[in-house]
Amino acid sequence: MANLSFVIPMSVMTLFWGIIGGVVPWFIPKGPNRGVIVTMLVLTAVCCYLFWLIAILAQLNPLFGPALKNDTIWYMYYHSS
């Protein structure tokens, strides 16, 4: 997990949703709808971050790999890095 290619997406997403859920609510102007807007921002940040986190953690240590057709394997062997 000290690998850079994992740390970068992790920190970017955490920072992004952290700003949306933790920083932007302070800047919402006072008004009758402030409570609702702040609630929506915080909940959106929590839900979306959690959903992304689950997706990336599920692929962190795979127990098995994809099974591909031999045509696909042949194509990928010769045409991709």
């Binding site: 409570g35 609630t39 929506m40 839900c47 997706a55 591909l68």
Partner: protein, 804 residues
């Protein structure tokens, strides 16, 4: 601001206003839309109320307005005019019909006469229209010297054969009958054209003619005087034509006038309908009030939000000023034990969500309102089940279209469209979240994006790093990549969402099912924990935390929180695939304290930790079951002291507050005594209630967590349907190599589009909507929401007029 999270504080206010200004005051209050009138005569039937006649009159007017033809009360003159116009028009039409018939008659009898006369005298004029010359049948057996009388008329086409038969029977053939069908001219556009025939009967003698006239009357044939000679006939024809022209002009003018009057009236129709509706509402409201006839006062009781008291007062003053009365209405706030209605102030955006919450049950007075949280979690759970960014984009576009053209859609007055329009913001949010979850599932019309490069590499499976050779490739249809071979899995997961390699893998479902099931459980446990935390808000209001909240929270965390921890731990830790324990088996064995089987544990201290957690959860159950009832039992011992104290308080209240009638005081006194006695009797009730609640909660934890697996099930169904549409509809056309493939592609794409919209957007959309709603109503809300209040329904003219 606080009002959307919890229903507003309401107060019961007594209003006193003069009878003259009553109408205006209630009108003002109706425009304000903030007060709900309480029914002060709950026992009386509708027909016994004071203003029942006025209400009936208003209903009558409403009914008439709906027919849109006549107007009573306000517009008698208009009604008279319209009646006259209509009757004139009918007479004119009748005249016109008659004249046309005469015209036809004259037109067509010409050749009959000519034919007959030619046998008697020299014919002067040839028949004008030789259309019917083919009808000249030679009729030899007439007596040339006898003068024949005749009867001419018009009869309905279908009656003619019967007419002819009876004539034969009567006169034994001593007559000549000629008939011809009237063919309509182009300019005569009667609404209903009845087929008619012209006929002429030639007979001898006058008595016979009398008989024929009677016969004609019997057959409802109209007879017309027809002159004998051709010149007179011609003159008559010109006369008739002139009259017909005049009549046509008059008819046209009448029609124009009628149309202009009606359009002028129709323009005001909506205004009048609105006025009548308002009047009916006002009289209905007056029926709910008390009338103090001796003092010419009307007493009303209203529920009104505390924060709006000043605006209600201002509206009343305005209303009384309009009638010019000097006495301003009095507002008197009274305290009551009755439960006020639940009022959640919503705007255009939040009202849709509040409606779907209220559809299950309106919240108790001042209970936590789930709506502000539902605004995000409901579209989010929908999106988890819908999960396709292409379909999500379509849904968002639909919602934007609905929002921009809301006025136009509301005018259509179709029920389904109305439902769509009132939920347009819900659809917008659902679409936006679906785009996000679609990007994470990496699913766009069943295809994946490869934005960052896949983490799986095929090359490393081959020699020299891996076990495969070209021969392995030739020998088998499919091969599975092994993450243990170095380099095959890059070590870094795909940064945003599911790796695109899985989209083309044959064992895609094996991976996705495991991922989605675990995701559903995690989301479910988090959602339910959120619900339990919200119940804290209800308790703080009513001071009940330790007895219920803590055991519930600990129970859920120790079992299902631990399950979530197991899932996350297994994901984060590196294990050999053959020694990886199944989480489900771990969980089941934990509940049964079964640690004997193969013994594979995820981490070293797993066994003692699990035993501890199960014991703690087991302790929570009797805590939840017995703590509260036992405490209440102890409280009862001090109840009598409280009773005496309350009575003393009540006595002082009698002398310090002046009520308009003593009715209210008696009610409160009785209520006090009742609540005290009810506390004594219901110990058994409390035990039973608490037992039910405990069982419901604990068993519910398990079943509700499993219920969240529908998130997995529906997203799997959606993905599979999407893939079927691609593989078996669109891909078939894309693989055709001949030139006609383009035509086939156009047709197939149309099919693909129609199927996508109907099956995937409409059907799956409705299905995901329903299931997301169920998850909220049942699994989320049964952790904290009672939902047994009644809704605040103010007298509001805007709402009333918008509904129709």
């Amino acid at each position: 601001m606080d009002s959307f999270f919890r229903s507003e504080e309401m107060c019961l206010v007594q209003l006193f206003f003069q009878t003259e200004s009553a109408h205006n005051c209630i009108d003002e209050l109706g425009h304000l839309g903030l007060v709900q009138f309480k029914d002060l005569h709950p026992g009386t039937a509708d027909f016994q109320r004071r203003f029942v006649k006025e209400v009936k009159k208003c209903e009558e007017m409403e009914r008439i307005l709906r027919k849109q033809l006549y107007f009573v009360t306000f517009f008698d003159k208009l009604e008279q005019e319209l009646k006259e116009i209509n009757s004139n028009r009918d007479t004119l039409r009748q005249n016109f019909t008659q004249l046309t018939e005469i015209n036809h008659l004259l037109h067509m009898t010409d050749d009959f006469f000519v034919e007959v006369e030619s046998q008697m005298t020299i014919s002067e004029l040839p028949s004008e229209d030789s259309v019917y010359s083919s009808r000249r049948a030679s009729y030899a057996s007439t007596n040339g010297s006898l003068k024949l009388g005749f009867v001419a008329g018009v009869i309905k086409h279908e009656r003619f054969p019967a007419f002819e038969k009876i004539l034969w029977r009567l006169f034994h053939g001593n007559f000549v009958l000629r008939h011809a069908e009237i063919k309509p001219h182009q300019e005569e556009n009667m609404e209903v054209f009845v087929k008619k025939d012209v006929f002429v009967v030639f007979v001898q003698g006058d008595q016979v003619r009398g008989k024929i006239r009677k016969l004609c009357d019997g057959f409802h044939a109209s007879m017309y005087p027809c002159p004998n000679n051709a010149a007179a006939r011609k003159e008559m024809r010109t006369n008739v034509n002139m009259r017909m022209e005049d009549l046509r002009l008059v008819l046209k003018r009448t029609e124009e006038f009628r149309v202009t009057t009606l359009t002028a009236a129709a323009a005001n129709l909506r205004e009048w309908t609105a006025k009548v509706k308002k009047m009916k509402a006002i009289y209905y409201t007056l029926n709910l009030c008390n009338i103090d006839i001796t003092q010419k006062l009307i007493i009303a009781e209203i529920w009104c939000p505390v924060s709006d008291l000043s605006s209600v007062h201002a509206a009343l003053i305005k209303g009384s000023e309009q009638t010019g009365s000097s006495v301003t209405p009095i507002m008197n706030r009274i305290h009551t034990q009755q439960t006020p209605p639940t009022f959640n102030r919503t705007n255009v955006f939040t009202s849709g969500f509040q409606n779907i919450i209220d559809a299950y049950g309106v919240g108790d007075y001042q209970e936590i309102n789930p709506a502000p949280y539902t605004m995000v979690t409901f579209p989010f759970l929908f999106a988890v089940m819908f999960g396709d960014c292409g379909h999500g984009l379509l849904m968002t576009l639909l919602a934007v279209w609905l929002i921009l053209h809301e006025e136009h859609f509301r005018k259509l007055k179709n029920e389904l469209v109305d439902m769509l329009v009132s939920g347009r913001y819900i659809i917008l949010l659902m679409g936006i979240y679906s785009i996000y979850t679609g990007l994470i599932y990496n699913d766009c019309f069943s295809k994946s994006f490869n934005l960052f490069g896949s983490s799986w590499s095929v090359r490393h499976m081959f020699h020299p790093q891996g076990p495969w050779t070209n021969e392995t490739l030739h020998n088998s249809d499919y091969l599975q990549l092994d993450p243990l071979v170095s380099g095959v899995y890059s070590g870094n997961p795909y940064p945003f969402g599911i790796d695109p390699m899985w989209n083309i893998a044959l064992n895609k479902l094996l991976f996705l099912n495991s991922y989605k099931m675990k995701m559903s459980v995690i989301i479910g446990v988090v959602h339910m924990l959120f619900g339990v935390m919200l119940s804290l808000g209800n308790y703080i209001n009513f001071k009940d935390v330790v007895l219920k909240f803590i055991p519930e929270l600990v129970f859920m965390l120790s079992l299902f929180g631990y399950l979530t921890f197991l899932i996350l731990y297994k994901w984060c830790v590196v294990i050999k695939s053959d020694s990886a324990p199944s989480i489900l088996l771990l969980f089941i064995n934990m509940m049964f304290f079964d640690y004997s089987s193969n013994g594979a544990m995820l981490y070293k201290t797993q066994k003692p930790v699990q035993i501890f957690l199960v014991v703690v959860a087991g302790v929570m159950v009797p805590w939840l079951l017995f703590a509260k009832p036992l405490l209440m039992y102890r409280e009862h011992k001090t109840i009598f002291i409280r009773f005496v104290l309350m009575l003393m308080n009540a006595n002082t209240q009698v002398f310090s507050v002046i009520y308009h009638s003593s009715f209210y005081f008696k009610m409160n006194h009785i209520k006090y005594i009742q609540t005290i006695f009810s506390l004594q009797i219901s110990m058994g009730d409390i035990f039973v209630y608490q037992g039910i609640h405990t069982i419901e909660y604990c068993l519910g934890c398990i079943s509700n967590t499993a219920s969240y697996l529908r998130l997995w099930a529906l997203s799997l169904a959606h993905a599979e349907l999407s893939e079927v549409l691609w593989k078996m509809v669109l891909q078939v056309a894309l693989r055709v190599t001949s030139g006609m493939g383009s035509v086939l592609l156009a047709v197939t794409f149309a099919t693909f589009a129609v199927l996508t919209v109907t099956i995937l957007l409409v059907m799956e959309g409705l299905s995901a909507f329903l299931h997301a709603l169920r998850l909220h109503w049942v699994e989320f809300q049964n952790k904290f929401y009672q939902g047994s209040g009644y809704k605040f329904s103010p007298l509001s003219f805007d709402k009333m007029l918008n509904m129709k």
